[in-house]
Symmetry: C2
Subunit: 493 residues, 2 copies
């Protein structure tokens, strides 16, 4: 019955581990080599996989060959290829060899670093790398471990927002005398461009949805949040007996890439003692380049800041850096000390126990991949990477702007180009561009998504997939022109 | 400036991808080969890594060789080796070749399957695999997609509990007339053995901490929750004008492996219309074997059930399966539909959009590894794996029980053996066992942690790391005896 009695079953045998892993590496390398052959957006119909797979688990093992054949035949056709050089949708989940190597090591060590003692290296490397990253972004020392703050790696921005909202909530509850009923008085502020996850997170932590303020934005400010509107809304809420709690400012909004002015919003937030969080998920990556650092001007006024190296920083999913000026508020809200996790290191109070900085207990050793990404590229190449994508986006924007059938809907700030076919012959511009986007995506030669701002349906082109080169941008532009001709032809008198 | 103009910088070049990945595979295989040479629990001092690493990121790239040397010299000494065959602490984060291969493919495809269209295969494989798993556990069809329910893969139990709590909360708020002030009336129930994450999650979703009930357990019921106490506590709360909301029952508690009776608790929960969640994080894995399936008796009375294949099911971190009888309550609570994610498939309502089943938007393709783990082992070997670990735990328990210096503190239910040195000469038993555990862990030859039940400090031995064989159990027993002799000698008159 015991393991030794049955050598035929070894789930982690060194010989097969080596052979099988290398076979999968070859499989993956071939996938990347052929990636341009697949339609970027999957063309399968809903339910396609149900008919291809058995409806229950196999009783006996399948061979690796069978599994990889099924990956080729059943899984690949159902992938939307985020690593394709012609993927311009949503955001870039930019992988790299270095990020992949980091993920391999993380998965192989498979340590669970919930507290320091459960794997000191996992905790300490995370703290080191967050300070490295903070220095690359020239954050004030109030956000660094080597200063008076600190940081943690979460999976995604959503998690960072949930945790900081909870910290702000519990800090305010305490200040109001620990009466939980005050939870219904808290108000949170965002613009109508802020990522929807913020609204979801606010409700999740128990803020009444009616206390969520969407501050309206417009073309006049290129969809940045208005500090005046923030101030007057806060004052209205205070007059109504509510308690302004938290504001989320964004560097690079999802729909159109708008950049909120942290400095101006920060002064209002500080005046009314709100928690200011900066969601720099995507655009934050650009701030390692001196010429983009001004986006972060005023960051010293914020309570917390998050950015995602899994977006555009060559770090495979998932990885979100969160820095806080006063981590103790996060820890006050999220810590717990059951007897079964007691240990001398934690009791000494000289170590970080990351379980108290996040929602979950268990956590992967994500710092490893970020560390390897930074080391294998160096700041030098990481800046080059950002700059070359910005350059491609700039060139693409110029092509659009030169073609009189098109217009740029909101000026590009970094790598998001928001454009559309101009309305024509009294046609509905939104309908026209919906058709154009459908035609582009159905071709399988590129994948882009839409953004709607000020009632205008526009096409988002986010430049920066790892494998994207100049020729892919040229192909994209040819494809857009080709489909635009067809769509416009359909409507000509 | 563009990428093509600088071929010296290719973050995902196929030749180096292949070579470097294979070099890392060899590195990992060597790590596993030598894993018994490392102290299981890391021996580093707090802050050890700060002195070894530069305090800011390198400007120029480092070679892979340098990085791997640093992993050997700086990271490995700071790891607590969860994959060591002599790791008996916390729980098993049991990796396998199959799980590792799945992680590699997930990381390489690096798709973000937040909705169906963003990668249909990621969504559909997840639904398929959850039904496979549900069938292996013989769950009622009310939890299956092929029945009337459905499931999702979260990272951890904590996430599953947060989401189901939010679903229960929002369902109840609606029933009470959509007045958010009722949030302060909700009461949640657990035993004093329930995992601490449940309390953390309840507070996170805005349930007042004073409305959290810890039902006391004792040796008399082997620390299982009392249905009578649950009933009387609920009735007290109702009399006080509170609203009983949610109860978490556990199969295999953390400290001592207690198993709550789902059937008995379920009847009480159903009578008072509470949401019953079953946390089967660890012990749920055993339920694929017919002889352990009785733990799940009464599961038809539950609203939701979670179990973690990353614990003991040969699936590398992280992977938590959550099934729900009525997923619509989860979706009602967590869904959102911003314009930039609109698509025809979602509008058709025939697809699953997993972003509405979890906290975060972005998500990794975790189903891939669970699918490969199941296929490469088959149900046959997965059962054999569970059974051989149980057999090792049983043999170990017998060794302890035969030695009159020791006692089993709570009878073993599955693979957790909770034991201690009997108090002697009027010595404090807790102090004695604390010393024994320290001595064992300091040896570096094994790593175990403690559980405290009914005021008694005991040593937890969780059997089931992937590489553990009979000889490691024998070594452990020798080590325990050796250290027990020394500790007892210290105290002899």
């Amino acid at each position: 019955m015991s393991k030794t009695s049955d050598k035929s079953f070894l789930p982690l045998d060194m010989v097969s581990f080596r052979d099988e892993s290398k076979a999968v590496i070859d499989f993956i390398a071939d996938y990347y080599k052929n990636i341009e052959k697949y339609p970027v957006q999957s063309k399968v119909e809903p339910g396609y996989l149900l008919s291809k797979l058995p409806d229950s688990a196999p009783y006996s093992p399948d061979s690796l060959e069978d599994v990889l054949n099924d990956v080729s035949d059943s899984i690949l056709p159902g992938l939307t290829h985020w690593q394709s050089p012609s993927f311009f949708a949503y955001y870039q989940a930019s992988s790299s060899t270095a990020g992949f190597l980091g993920e391999m090591l993380c998965s192989a060590f498979n340590v669970v670093g919930f507290n320091w003692i459960s794997s000191p290296a996992a905790t300490e490397l995370e703290s080191v790398v967050l300070d490295w990253m903070a220095k690359m972004l020239r954050l004030p020392s109030s956000f660094l471990f080597s200063g008076t703050g600190g940081g943690v790696i979460h999976g995604t921005t959503c998690e960072a927002v949930v945790c900081t909202l909870a910290a702000a909530r519990d800090k305010a509850l305490k200040e109001l005398g620990d009466n939980w009923e005050n939870i219904t008085k808290f108000v949170v502020y965002a613009s109508d461009q802020t990522h929807f996850t913020f609204q979801k997170a606010a409700k999740l932590v128990g803020i009444p949805p009616s206390n969520f303020r969407f501050l309206q934005t417009s073309f006049a400010t290129e969809f940045a949040m208005s500090p005046e509107l923030l101030r007057s809304t806060i004052e209205d809420d205070v007059r109504s007996g509510l308690v302004p709690l938290y504001i989320c400012a964004t560097l690079g909004t999802t729909a159109c890439g708008a950049v909120d002015s942290i400095g101006e919003l920060g002064r209002v937030a500080n005046e009314y003692k709100l928690w200011l969080h900066i969601d720099a998920a995507h655009a934050g990556n650009a701030c390692i380049c001196p010429e983009f650092r001004y986006f972060l001007d005023g960051v010293e006024l914020a309570s917390s800041l998050s950015m995602n190296p899994h977006k555009w920083f060559l770090t495979n999913m998932d990885c979100c850096c969160l820095w806080l000026k006063e981590p103790r508020f996060l820890i006050d809200s999220l810590s717990s000390n059951p007897e079964y996790l007691e240990n001398n290191a934690s009791k000494s109070n000289v170590v970080v126990d990351y379980k108290d900085w996040q929602v979950t207990l268990s956590r992967r050793f994500r710092a490893l991949k970020l560390w390897i990404v930074i080391r294998r590229h160096g700041v030098e190449n990481l800046m080059r990477h950002i700059r070359s994508d910005v350059e491609l986006a700039k060139q693409f924007e110029a092509l659009i702007a030169e073609d009189e059938r098109f217009e740029i809907v909101v000026p590009r700030r970094i790598v998001l180009v928001l454009f559309r076919l101009k309305p024509k012959h009294g046609l509905d511009g939104n309908e026209l561009n919906r058709k154009l986007l459908d035609a582009i995506n159905c071709s399988g030669r590129a994948f882009l998504t839409q953004g709607v701002v000020g009632g205008i349906y526009a096409i988002r082109c986010v430049v920066g997939a790892t494998l994207t080169e100049e020729r892919h941008m040229k192909d994209l532009w040819s494809l857009i022109q080709e489909k635009a001709r067809l769509v416009l032809l359909q409507y000509s008198p």
